[in-house]
Symmetry: C2
Subunit: 248 residues, 2 copies
DNA sequence: CGTCTAATTGAAGCATCTCAACATGCGTGG
DNA sequence: CCACGCATGTTGAGATGCTTCAATTAGACG
Protein backbone atom coordinates (compact mmCIF):
# COMPACT_ATOMS: atom_id res chain seq x y z
CA UNK A 1 0.00 0.00 0.00
CA UNK A 2 1.12 3.51 -0.65
CA UNK A 3 0.74 6.76 1.17
CA UNK A 4 -2.20 8.65 -0.30
CA UNK A 5 -0.54 11.99 0.34
CA UNK A 6 2.51 10.93 -1.66
CA UNK A 7 1.31 8.49 -4.29
CA UNK A 8 3.95 6.24 -5.79
CA UNK A 9 5.08 7.01 -9.33
CA UNK A 10 3.03 4.04 -10.46
CA UNK A 11 -0.14 5.38 -8.90
CA UNK A 12 0.65 8.81 -10.29
CA UNK A 13 0.81 7.34 -13.78
CA UNK A 14 -2.57 5.73 -13.33
CA UNK A 15 -4.13 8.88 -11.92
CA UNK A 16 -2.66 10.99 -14.67
CA UNK A 17 -4.13 8.65 -17.25
CA UNK A 18 -7.55 8.65 -15.61
CA UNK A 19 -7.50 12.43 -15.48
CA UNK A 20 -7.13 12.58 -19.25
CA UNK A 21 -10.51 10.91 -19.60
CA UNK A 22 -12.46 11.80 -16.43
CA UNK A 23 -12.77 14.46 -13.77
CA UNK A 24 -11.80 12.91 -10.45
CA UNK A 25 -12.29 14.48 -7.02
CA UNK A 26 -9.43 14.62 -4.55
CA UNK A 27 -11.09 11.85 -2.56
CA UNK A 28 -11.38 9.64 -5.61
CA UNK A 29 -7.75 10.18 -6.51
CA UNK A 30 -6.78 9.30 -2.99
CA UNK A 31 -8.83 6.13 -3.15
CA UNK A 32 -7.08 5.17 -6.38
CA UNK A 33 -3.69 5.84 -4.87
CA UNK A 34 -4.47 3.32 -2.15
CA UNK A 35 -4.80 0.45 -4.62
CA UNK A 36 -2.39 -2.35 -3.80
CA UNK A 37 0.16 -2.93 -6.57
CA UNK A 38 2.44 -5.86 -6.96
CA UNK A 39 5.19 -4.51 -9.15
CA UNK A 40 7.02 -6.79 -11.54
CA UNK A 41 9.47 -6.42 -14.41
CA UNK A 42 8.78 -8.20 -17.66
CA UNK A 43 11.02 -8.91 -20.63
CA UNK A 44 10.18 -7.65 -24.11
CA UNK A 45 8.03 -9.88 -26.30
CA UNK A 46 6.59 -11.88 -23.46
CA UNK A 47 2.98 -12.56 -22.57
CA UNK A 48 1.49 -10.79 -19.57
CA UNK A 49 -1.75 -12.75 -19.84
CA UNK A 50 -2.56 -15.30 -22.51
CA UNK A 51 -5.75 -16.12 -24.35
CA UNK A 52 -7.82 -18.61 -22.40
CA UNK A 53 -6.46 -17.69 -19.00
CA UNK A 54 -8.63 -16.50 -16.12
CA UNK A 55 -6.59 -13.77 -14.46
CA UNK A 56 -7.13 -12.71 -10.87
CA UNK A 57 -5.34 -9.39 -11.29
CA UNK A 58 -5.44 -6.45 -13.65
CA UNK A 59 -2.20 -5.16 -15.07
CA UNK A 60 -1.24 -1.51 -14.85
CA UNK A 61 1.51 -0.58 -17.29
CA UNK A 62 4.01 1.58 -15.42
CA UNK A 63 6.75 1.73 -18.01
CA UNK A 64 7.19 0.38 -21.52
CA UNK A 65 4.75 -0.69 -24.20
CA UNK A 66 2.30 -3.55 -24.47
CA UNK A 67 -0.29 -4.73 -26.95
CA UNK A 68 -3.33 -6.92 -27.12
CA UNK A 69 -3.33 -9.49 -29.89
CA UNK A 70 -4.73 -12.70 -31.25
CA UNK A 71 -2.93 -15.38 -33.21
CA UNK A 72 -4.84 -17.29 -35.90
CA UNK A 73 -4.37 -20.92 -36.74
CA UNK A 74 -2.23 -20.14 -39.78
CA UNK A 75 0.14 -18.27 -37.49
CA UNK A 76 -0.92 -14.79 -38.53
CA UNK A 77 -1.14 -12.24 -35.75
CA UNK A 78 -3.56 -9.37 -35.35
CA UNK A 79 -2.63 -6.69 -32.85
CA UNK A 80 -5.75 -4.99 -31.55
CA UNK A 81 -4.38 -2.18 -29.42
CA UNK A 82 -1.20 -0.59 -28.15
CA UNK A 83 -0.79 0.44 -24.53
CA UNK A 84 1.61 2.70 -22.68
CA UNK A 85 2.24 3.81 -19.11
CA UNK A 86 -0.97 4.50 -17.23
CA UNK A 87 -3.09 2.02 -19.15
CA UNK A 88 -4.79 -1.03 -17.67
CA UNK A 89 -5.16 -3.09 -20.82
CA UNK A 90 -6.90 -6.05 -19.20
CA UNK A 91 -9.38 -4.10 -17.14
CA UNK A 92 -12.12 -6.01 -18.93
CA UNK A 93 -11.07 -9.17 -17.08
CA UNK A 94 -12.92 -7.74 -14.09
CA UNK A 95 -16.21 -8.63 -15.79
CA UNK A 96 -15.06 -10.99 -18.56
CA UNK A 97 -13.21 -13.63 -16.58
CA UNK A 98 -11.64 -15.62 -19.37
CA UNK A 99 -9.29 -13.83 -21.73
CA UNK A 100 -10.43 -13.95 -25.35
CA UNK A 101 -7.08 -12.54 -26.47
CA UNK A 102 -3.52 -12.20 -25.22
CA UNK A 103 -1.75 -9.26 -23.66
CA UNK A 104 1.95 -9.08 -24.40
CA UNK A 105 4.89 -6.75 -24.02
CA UNK A 106 6.53 -4.99 -26.95
CA UNK A 107 9.42 -3.59 -24.91
CA UNK A 108 10.66 -4.44 -21.44
CA UNK A 109 7.78 -3.46 -19.17
CA UNK A 110 7.41 -2.71 -15.53
CA UNK A 111 3.87 -3.50 -14.54
CA UNK A 112 1.78 -3.27 -11.39
CA UNK A 113 -0.65 -6.08 -10.74
CA UNK A 114 -3.83 -5.11 -8.93
CA UNK A 115 -6.03 -7.84 -7.43
CA UNK A 116 -9.52 -7.90 -8.90
CA UNK A 117 -10.86 -7.83 -5.36
CA UNK A 118 -9.20 -4.50 -4.67
CA UNK A 119 -10.71 -2.93 -7.76
CA UNK A 120 -14.13 -4.35 -6.99
CA UNK A 121 -13.87 -2.95 -3.51
CA UNK A 122 -12.89 0.41 -4.93
CA UNK A 123 -15.84 0.45 -7.33
CA UNK A 124 -18.17 -0.44 -4.48
CA UNK A 125 -17.06 2.64 -2.55
CA UNK A 126 -16.37 5.14 -5.31
CA UNK A 127 -19.01 5.49 -8.00
CA UNK A 128 -16.96 8.23 -9.64
CA UNK A 129 -14.03 5.89 -10.07
CA UNK A 130 -16.34 3.18 -11.36
CA UNK A 131 -17.61 5.61 -13.99
CA UNK A 132 -14.04 6.54 -14.94
CA UNK A 133 -12.99 2.90 -15.31
CA UNK A 134 -16.12 2.01 -17.25
CA UNK A 135 -15.47 5.03 -19.42
CA UNK A 136 -11.93 3.83 -19.98
CA UNK A 137 -13.17 0.49 -21.29
CA UNK A 138 -15.68 2.33 -23.47
CA UNK A 139 -12.92 4.41 -24.99
CA UNK A 140 -11.01 1.21 -25.67
CA UNK A 141 -14.07 0.04 -27.56
CA UNK A 142 -14.21 3.32 -29.49
CA UNK A 143 -10.61 2.80 -30.54
CA UNK A 144 -11.39 -0.75 -31.67
CA UNK A 145 -14.20 0.67 -33.78
CA UNK A 146 -11.88 3.21 -35.33
CA UNK A 147 -9.30 0.55 -36.13
CA UNK A 148 -12.08 -1.52 -37.64
CA UNK A 149 -12.97 1.36 -39.94
CA UNK A 150 -9.31 1.62 -40.83
CA UNK A 151 -8.66 -1.98 -41.80
CA UNK A 152 -12.10 -2.24 -43.37
CA UNK A 153 -12.19 0.86 -45.51
CA UNK A 154 -8.97 2.86 -45.46
CA UNK A 155 -5.94 2.51 -47.71
CA UNK A 156 -2.59 1.48 -46.32
CA UNK A 157 -1.39 5.09 -46.47
CA UNK A 158 -4.38 6.35 -44.53
CA UNK A 159 -4.15 3.57 -41.99
CA UNK A 160 -0.53 4.20 -41.16
CA UNK A 161 -0.93 7.97 -40.98
CA UNK A 162 -4.01 7.50 -38.81
CA UNK A 163 -2.23 5.20 -36.40
CA UNK A 164 0.68 7.62 -36.02
CA UNK A 165 -1.79 10.42 -35.22
CA UNK A 166 -3.62 8.30 -32.69
CA UNK A 167 -0.56 7.12 -30.84
CA UNK A 168 0.86 10.62 -30.78
CA UNK A 169 -2.30 12.17 -29.34
CA UNK A 170 -2.63 9.49 -26.70
CA UNK A 171 1.01 9.69 -25.63
CA UNK A 172 0.94 13.46 -25.62
CA UNK A 173 -2.15 13.43 -23.40
CA UNK A 174 -0.41 11.46 -20.68
CA UNK A 175 2.87 13.35 -21.01
CA UNK A 176 4.84 10.65 -22.79
CA UNK A 177 5.59 12.67 -25.94
CA UNK A 178 7.14 16.02 -26.61
CA UNK A 179 5.62 18.33 -29.15
CA UNK A 180 5.47 16.55 -32.52
CA UNK A 181 8.02 14.05 -31.38
CA UNK A 182 7.70 10.66 -29.75
CA UNK A 183 9.58 7.52 -28.93
CA UNK A 184 7.63 4.82 -30.76
CA UNK A 185 9.12 1.41 -30.06
CA UNK A 186 7.27 -0.41 -32.82
CA UNK A 187 8.87 -2.49 -35.52
CA UNK A 188 7.43 -2.49 -39.01
CA UNK A 189 6.30 -6.07 -38.48
CA UNK A 190 4.33 -4.96 -35.44
CA UNK A 191 2.82 -2.04 -37.32
CA UNK A 192 1.78 -4.45 -40.05
CA UNK A 193 0.22 -6.84 -37.54
CA UNK A 194 -1.78 -3.96 -36.11
CA UNK A 195 -2.91 -2.58 -39.44
CA UNK A 196 -3.56 -5.80 -41.30
CA UNK A 197 -0.65 -5.19 -43.66
CA UNK A 198 2.58 -6.94 -44.53
CA UNK A 199 5.74 -5.45 -43.09
CA UNK A 200 7.02 -5.00 -46.63
CA UNK A 201 4.14 -2.76 -47.49
CA UNK A 202 4.41 -0.86 -44.21
CA UNK A 203 8.00 -0.16 -45.12
CA UNK A 204 7.15 1.25 -48.51
CA UNK A 205 4.32 3.39 -47.19
CA UNK A 206 6.50 4.80 -44.42
CA UNK A 207 8.99 5.80 -47.08
CA UNK A 208 6.21 7.57 -48.94
CA UNK A 209 5.18 9.45 -45.81
CA UNK A 210 8.77 10.50 -45.23
CA UNK A 211 9.13 11.52 -48.86
CA UNK A 212 5.97 13.61 -48.53
CA UNK A 213 7.61 15.34 -45.56
CA UNK A 214 4.87 14.32 -43.17
CA UNK A 215 7.18 12.48 -40.79
CA UNK A 216 10.87 11.92 -40.28
CA UNK A 217 13.22 10.08 -37.97
CA UNK A 218 14.33 6.51 -38.29
CA UNK A 219 13.62 3.71 -35.89
CA UNK A 220 11.99 4.54 -32.58
CA UNK A 221 12.35 8.31 -32.62
CA UNK A 222 9.53 9.59 -34.75
CA UNK A 223 9.12 13.25 -35.62
CA UNK A 224 5.91 14.63 -37.03
CA UNK A 225 7.07 17.20 -39.57
CA UNK A 226 3.61 18.24 -40.73
CA UNK A 227 0.93 17.67 -38.13
CA UNK A 228 -2.01 19.04 -40.12
CA UNK A 229 -0.76 17.20 -43.17
CA UNK A 230 -0.46 13.91 -41.30
CA UNK A 231 -3.94 14.26 -39.84
CA UNK A 232 -5.29 14.93 -43.29
CA UNK A 233 -3.41 12.01 -44.80
CA UNK A 234 -4.83 9.74 -42.12
CA UNK A 235 -8.33 11.22 -42.19
CA UNK A 236 -7.78 11.63 -38.47
CA UNK A 237 -10.27 13.22 -36.09
CA UNK A 238 -9.51 12.72 -32.41
CA UNK A 239 -13.13 12.84 -31.29
CA UNK A 240 -13.27 9.08 -30.86
CA UNK A 241 -10.53 9.19 -28.24
CA UNK A 242 -12.87 11.13 -25.95
CA UNK A 243 -10.04 12.95 -24.21
CA UNK A 244 -10.92 15.80 -21.88
CA UNK A 245 -8.52 18.09 -23.69
CA UNK A 246 -6.68 17.47 -26.90
CA UNK A 247 -3.02 18.05 -27.64
CA UNK A 248 -2.29 20.81 -30.12
CA UNK B 1 -43.76 2.66 -16.13
CA UNK B 2 -44.58 -1.02 -16.20
CA UNK B 3 -45.76 -3.46 -13.63
CA UNK B 4 -42.75 -5.38 -12.31
CA UNK B 5 -44.82 -8.51 -11.83
CA UNK B 6 -45.84 -8.47 -15.47
CA UNK B 7 -43.02 -6.83 -17.39
CA UNK B 8 -43.91 -5.50 -20.81
CA UNK B 9 -42.69 -7.47 -23.81
CA UNK B 10 -40.07 -4.79 -24.31
CA UNK B 11 -38.71 -5.20 -20.79
CA UNK B 12 -38.86 -8.95 -21.20
CA UNK B 13 -36.67 -8.69 -24.29
CA UNK B 14 -34.13 -6.64 -22.38
CA UNK B 15 -34.14 -8.98 -19.41
CA UNK B 16 -33.84 -12.02 -21.65
CA UNK B 17 -30.82 -10.44 -23.33
CA UNK B 18 -29.17 -9.54 -20.04
CA UNK B 19 -29.74 -13.07 -18.79
CA UNK B 20 -27.71 -14.44 -21.69
CA UNK B 21 -24.68 -12.62 -20.37
CA UNK B 22 -25.19 -12.22 -16.62
CA UNK B 23 -26.89 -13.86 -13.66
CA UNK B 24 -29.51 -11.48 -12.34
CA UNK B 25 -31.44 -11.83 -9.07
CA UNK B 26 -35.21 -11.49 -9.01
CA UNK B 27 -34.83 -8.07 -7.43
CA UNK B 28 -32.47 -6.93 -10.15
CA UNK B 29 -34.78 -8.13 -12.87
CA UNK B 30 -37.62 -6.30 -11.20
CA UNK B 31 -35.57 -3.11 -11.05
CA UNK B 32 -34.83 -3.43 -14.75
CA UNK B 33 -38.48 -3.97 -15.57
CA UNK B 34 -39.28 -0.64 -13.91
CA UNK B 35 -37.17 1.32 -16.38
CA UNK B 36 -39.24 3.94 -18.17
CA UNK B 37 -39.45 3.32 -21.90
CA UNK B 38 -40.66 5.70 -24.54
CA UNK B 39 -41.60 3.43 -27.39
CA UNK B 40 -41.30 4.61 -30.95
CA UNK B 41 -41.49 3.11 -34.42
CA UNK B 42 -38.74 3.85 -36.91
CA UNK B 43 -38.58 3.32 -40.65
CA UNK B 44 -35.93 1.14 -42.25
CA UNK B 45 -32.64 2.78 -43.21
CA UNK B 46 -33.05 5.75 -40.89
CA UNK B 47 -30.70 7.06 -38.24
CA UNK B 48 -31.60 6.50 -34.60
CA UNK B 49 -28.68 8.62 -33.42
CA UNK B 50 -26.11 10.28 -35.63
CA UNK B 51 -22.39 10.82 -35.25
CA UNK B 52 -21.71 14.03 -33.36
CA UNK B 53 -24.97 14.09 -31.45
CA UNK B 54 -25.19 14.13 -27.66
CA UNK B 55 -28.10 11.82 -26.86
CA UNK B 56 -30.03 12.02 -23.59
CA UNK B 57 -31.53 8.56 -23.95
CA UNK B 58 -30.32 5.07 -24.67
CA UNK B 59 -32.11 3.04 -27.29
CA UNK B 60 -33.41 -0.46 -26.59
CA UNK B 61 -34.17 -2.41 -29.74
CA UNK B 62 -37.52 -4.13 -29.26
CA UNK B 63 -38.06 -5.41 -32.76
CA UNK B 64 -36.11 -5.29 -36.00
CA UNK B 65 -32.42 -4.85 -36.76
CA UNK B 66 -30.02 -1.96 -36.35
CA UNK B 67 -26.35 -1.34 -36.92
CA UNK B 68 -23.61 1.01 -35.85
CA UNK B 69 -21.63 2.55 -38.66
CA UNK B 70 -19.33 5.32 -39.79
CA UNK B 71 -19.23 7.02 -43.16
CA UNK B 72 -15.85 8.16 -44.53
CA UNK B 73 -15.28 11.27 -46.57
CA UNK B 74 -15.17 9.33 -49.83
CA UNK B 75 -18.64 8.03 -49.05
CA UNK B 76 -17.56 4.55 -48.05
CA UNK B 77 -19.39 3.05 -45.11
CA UNK B 78 -18.10 0.74 -42.41
CA UNK B 79 -20.66 -1.09 -40.34
CA UNK B 80 -19.22 -1.91 -36.94
CA UNK B 81 -21.92 -4.05 -35.36
CA UNK B 82 -25.36 -5.51 -35.91
CA UNK B 83 -28.03 -5.40 -33.22
CA UNK B 84 -31.28 -7.20 -32.66
CA UNK B 85 -34.10 -7.19 -30.13
CA UNK B 86 -32.86 -6.88 -26.56
CA UNK B 87 -29.72 -4.92 -27.45
CA UNK B 88 -28.97 -1.39 -26.27
CA UNK B 89 -26.48 -0.40 -28.97
CA UNK B 90 -25.80 3.11 -27.67
CA UNK B 91 -25.37 2.19 -24.03
CA UNK B 92 -21.92 3.74 -24.24
CA UNK B 93 -23.52 7.18 -24.54
CA UNK B 94 -24.09 6.97 -20.79
CA UNK B 95 -20.37 7.65 -20.28
CA UNK B 96 -19.28 8.90 -23.71
CA UNK B 97 -21.67 11.81 -24.25
CA UNK B 98 -20.94 12.60 -27.87
CA UNK B 99 -21.53 9.90 -30.46
CA UNK B 100 -18.38 9.00 -32.40
CA UNK B 101 -20.47 6.95 -34.85
CA UNK B 102 -24.04 6.61 -36.02
CA UNK B 103 -26.71 4.13 -35.06
CA UNK B 104 -29.16 3.32 -37.82
CA UNK B 105 -31.95 0.90 -38.62
CA UNK B 106 -31.63 -1.86 -41.19
CA UNK B 107 -35.29 -2.86 -41.08
CA UNK B 108 -38.31 -1.11 -39.60
CA UNK B 109 -37.56 -1.00 -35.88
CA UNK B 110 -39.61 -0.52 -32.77
CA UNK B 111 -37.37 0.94 -30.12
CA UNK B 112 -37.69 1.94 -26.50
CA UNK B 113 -35.88 5.08 -25.41
CA UNK B 114 -34.64 5.09 -21.85
CA UNK B 115 -33.55 8.39 -20.25
CA UNK B 116 -29.91 8.36 -19.18
CA UNK B 117 -31.06 9.58 -15.79
CA UNK B 118 -33.16 6.47 -15.24
CA UNK B 119 -30.25 4.18 -16.08
CA UNK B 120 -27.89 6.14 -13.86
CA UNK B 121 -30.40 5.90 -11.06
CA UNK B 122 -30.67 2.16 -11.63
CA UNK B 123 -26.90 1.71 -11.53
CA UNK B 124 -26.74 3.70 -8.32
CA UNK B 125 -29.14 1.29 -6.64
CA UNK B 126 -28.27 -2.00 -8.27
CA UNK B 127 -24.58 -2.90 -8.46
CA UNK B 128 -25.47 -6.23 -10.05
CA UNK B 129 -27.24 -4.48 -12.91
CA UNK B 130 -24.32 -2.08 -13.26
CA UNK B 131 -22.00 -5.04 -13.61
CA UNK B 132 -24.29 -6.61 -16.20
CA UNK B 133 -24.48 -3.43 -18.26
CA UNK B 134 -20.74 -2.86 -18.02
CA UNK B 135 -20.25 -6.46 -19.04
CA UNK B 136 -22.53 -5.89 -22.00
CA UNK B 137 -20.38 -3.01 -23.24
CA UNK B 138 -17.28 -5.14 -22.67
CA UNK B 139 -18.74 -7.91 -24.82
CA UNK B 140 -19.44 -5.32 -27.49
CA UNK B 141 -15.76 -4.46 -27.34
CA UNK B 142 -14.84 -8.14 -27.61
CA UNK B 143 -16.94 -8.39 -30.75
CA UNK B 144 -15.22 -5.33 -32.21
CA UNK B 145 -11.91 -7.02 -31.55
CA UNK B 146 -13.03 -10.17 -33.29
CA UNK B 147 -14.25 -8.21 -36.31
CA UNK B 148 -10.93 -6.41 -36.33
CA UNK B 149 -9.16 -9.75 -36.53
CA UNK B 150 -11.48 -10.69 -39.35
CA UNK B 151 -10.98 -7.68 -41.58
CA UNK B 152 -7.30 -7.55 -40.68
CA UNK B 153 -6.27 -11.13 -41.19
CA UNK B 154 -9.02 -13.36 -42.51
CA UNK B 155 -9.96 -14.10 -46.10
CA UNK B 156 -13.33 -13.07 -47.49
CA UNK B 157 -14.58 -16.65 -47.20
CA UNK B 158 -13.57 -16.88 -43.57
CA UNK B 159 -15.01 -13.48 -42.76
CA UNK B 160 -18.42 -14.22 -44.19
CA UNK B 161 -18.65 -17.67 -42.63
CA UNK B 162 -17.51 -16.19 -39.32
CA UNK B 163 -20.14 -13.47 -39.40
CA UNK B 164 -22.90 -15.94 -40.15
CA UNK B 165 -21.80 -18.05 -37.19
CA UNK B 166 -21.68 -15.04 -34.89
CA UNK B 167 -25.09 -13.70 -35.82
CA UNK B 168 -26.62 -17.14 -35.56
CA UNK B 169 -25.21 -17.79 -32.08
CA UNK B 170 -26.29 -14.39 -30.81
CA UNK B 171 -29.80 -14.66 -32.21
CA UNK B 172 -30.20 -18.20 -30.98
CA UNK B 173 -29.14 -17.13 -27.49
CA UNK B 174 -31.95 -14.60 -27.20
CA UNK B 175 -34.51 -16.85 -28.88
CA UNK B 176 -34.66 -15.11 -32.24
CA UNK B 177 -33.52 -18.06 -34.33
CA UNK B 178 -34.67 -21.62 -34.70
CA UNK B 179 -32.20 -24.45 -34.88
CA UNK B 180 -29.82 -23.81 -37.79
CA UNK B 181 -32.21 -21.36 -39.33
CA UNK B 182 -32.59 -17.63 -39.03
CA UNK B 183 -34.21 -14.63 -40.59
CA UNK B 184 -31.26 -12.45 -41.56
CA UNK B 185 -32.47 -9.17 -43.05
CA UNK B 186 -29.10 -8.11 -44.45
CA UNK B 187 -28.44 -7.17 -48.04
CA UNK B 188 -25.17 -8.13 -49.67
CA UNK B 189 -24.21 -4.46 -49.71
CA UNK B 190 -24.67 -4.31 -45.95
CA UNK B 191 -22.67 -7.50 -45.46
CA UNK B 192 -19.91 -5.97 -47.54
CA UNK B 193 -19.96 -2.77 -45.53
CA UNK B 194 -19.63 -4.79 -42.36
CA UNK B 195 -16.85 -7.02 -43.63
CA UNK B 196 -14.82 -4.51 -45.59
CA UNK B 197 -15.69 -6.17 -48.89
CA UNK B 198 -17.48 -5.15 -52.06
CA UNK B 199 -21.00 -6.45 -52.51
CA UNK B 200 -19.87 -8.14 -55.71
CA UNK B 201 -17.35 -10.18 -53.81
CA UNK B 202 -19.80 -10.98 -51.04
CA UNK B 203 -22.12 -12.32 -53.70
CA UNK B 204 -19.50 -14.62 -55.17
CA UNK B 205 -18.39 -15.91 -51.79
CA UNK B 206 -21.96 -16.61 -50.70
CA UNK B 207 -22.37 -18.68 -53.84
CA UNK B 208 -19.25 -20.61 -52.91
CA UNK B 209 -20.61 -21.27 -49.42
CA UNK B 210 -23.89 -22.47 -50.89
CA UNK B 211 -22.04 -24.63 -53.40
CA UNK B 212 -20.02 -26.13 -50.56
CA UNK B 213 -23.32 -27.01 -48.87
CA UNK B 214 -22.53 -25.00 -45.79
CA UNK B 215 -25.59 -22.78 -46.07
CA UNK B 216 -28.72 -22.50 -48.17
CA UNK B 217 -31.77 -20.30 -48.55
CA UNK B 218 -32.03 -17.18 -50.60
CA UNK B 219 -32.69 -13.68 -49.31
CA UNK B 220 -33.53 -13.23 -45.65
CA UNK B 221 -34.19 -16.85 -44.71
CA UNK B 222 -30.81 -18.39 -44.07
CA UNK B 223 -30.37 -22.06 -43.30
CA UNK B 224 -27.17 -23.44 -41.91
CA UNK B 225 -26.80 -26.79 -43.63
CA UNK B 226 -23.51 -27.77 -42.02
CA UNK B 227 -22.94 -26.09 -38.68
CA UNK B 228 -19.59 -27.70 -37.85
CA UNK B 229 -18.46 -27.06 -41.40
CA UNK B 230 -19.48 -23.42 -41.28
CA UNK B 231 -17.70 -22.89 -37.96
CA UNK B 232 -14.61 -24.48 -39.40
CA UNK B 233 -14.80 -22.40 -42.58
CA UNK B 234 -15.09 -19.25 -40.48
CA UNK B 235 -12.50 -20.26 -37.91
CA UNK B 236 -15.26 -19.54 -35.44
CA UNK B 237 -14.96 -19.99 -31.70
CA UNK B 238 -17.76 -18.44 -29.67
CA UNK B 239 -15.64 -17.81 -26.59
CA UNK B 240 -15.37 -14.10 -27.38
CA UNK B 241 -19.15 -13.70 -27.12
CA UNK B 242 -18.94 -14.56 -23.42
CA UNK B 243 -22.41 -16.05 -23.33
CA UNK B 244 -23.50 -17.91 -20.24
CA UNK B 245 -24.51 -20.90 -22.30
CA UNK B 246 -23.87 -21.54 -25.94
CA UNK B 247 -26.32 -22.73 -28.56
CA UNK B 248 -25.68 -26.20 -29.90
C1' DC C 1 34.14 -6.96 -35.34
C1' DG C 2 30.88 -10.47 -35.72
C1' DT C 3 26.14 -11.45 -34.96
C1' DC C 4 21.40 -10.72 -34.94
C1' DT C 5 17.39 -8.16 -35.67
C1' DA C 6 15.13 -4.82 -38.39
C1' DA C 7 14.76 -2.28 -42.55
C1' DT C 8 14.94 -2.12 -47.50
C1' DT C 9 14.54 -3.47 -52.35
C1' DG C 10 12.90 -6.16 -56.49
C1' DA C 11 9.84 -9.10 -58.97
C1' DA C 12 5.96 -12.00 -59.63
C1' DG C 13 1.26 -13.39 -58.13
C1' DC C 14 -3.37 -13.02 -56.61
C1' DA C 15 -7.38 -11.72 -53.84
C1' DT C 16 -10.29 -8.46 -54.24
C1' DC C 17 -12.05 -4.17 -56.52
C1' DT C 18 -14.28 -1.44 -60.07
C1' DC C 19 -17.16 -0.83 -63.77
C1' DA C 20 -20.90 -2.09 -66.35
C1' DA C 21 -24.46 -4.92 -67.92
C1' DC C 22 -28.18 -7.92 -67.01
C1' DA C 23 -31.57 -10.73 -64.18
C1' DT C 24 -34.70 -11.33 -60.56
C1' DG C 25 -38.19 -10.38 -57.47
C1' DC C 26 -41.38 -7.75 -55.10
C1' DG C 27 -44.54 -3.93 -53.97
C1' DT C 28 -47.64 -0.74 -55.86
C1' DG C 29 -50.79 1.68 -58.62
C1' DG C 30 -53.56 1.51 -62.53
C1' DC D 1 -54.50 -8.86 -61.86
C1' DC D 2 -51.23 -7.19 -64.60
C1' DA D 3 -47.41 -3.92 -65.64
C1' DC D 4 -44.29 -1.01 -64.23
C1' DG D 5 -40.38 0.49 -61.39
C1' DC D 6 -36.90 0.04 -58.12
C1' DA D 7 -34.01 -2.43 -55.04
C1' DT D 8 -31.31 -6.42 -54.87
C1' DG D 9 -28.80 -10.03 -56.67
C1' DT D 10 -25.79 -12.00 -60.42
C1' DT D 11 -22.27 -12.26 -63.97
C1' DG D 12 -18.12 -10.96 -66.80
C1' DA D 13 -13.83 -8.67 -67.71
C1' DG D 14 -10.16 -5.77 -66.70
C1' DA D 15 -7.48 -3.18 -63.21
C1' DT D 16 -4.79 -2.78 -58.83
C1' DG D 17 -3.21 -2.59 -54.13
C1' DC D 18 -1.19 -5.40 -51.53
C1' DT D 19 1.13 -9.96 -50.69
C1' DT D 20 4.72 -13.34 -50.93
C1' DC D 21 9.18 -14.81 -51.57
C1' DA D 22 13.82 -13.97 -51.56
C1' DA D 23 17.84 -11.43 -51.33
C1' DT D 24 20.45 -7.46 -49.60
C1' DT D 25 21.65 -3.59 -46.54
C1' DA D 26 21.73 -1.12 -42.37
C1' DG D 27 21.96 -0.63 -37.53
C1' DA D 28 22.60 -1.99 -32.62
C1' DC D 29 25.02 -4.33 -29.22
C1' DG D 30 28.14 -7.29 -26.76
Amino acid sequence: LSNPLHPSPAHQRLIRKLETIADLTAGEKQAVSLLPLEIRSLAADSDIVSEGEVPSHCCLIIEGFACRYKVLNEGQRQIMSFHCAGDIPDLQSLHLPTMDHSLGTLTPVTAGFIPHGAIRELTRREPGVTAALWRDTLIDAAVFREWLVGVGRRSAHERIAHLLCEVYVKMRAVGLAEEHRMDLPLTQVELGDALGLSSVHVNRVLQDLRAANLISGRGRQTVIEDWPGLQHAGDFDATYLHLRKLAA
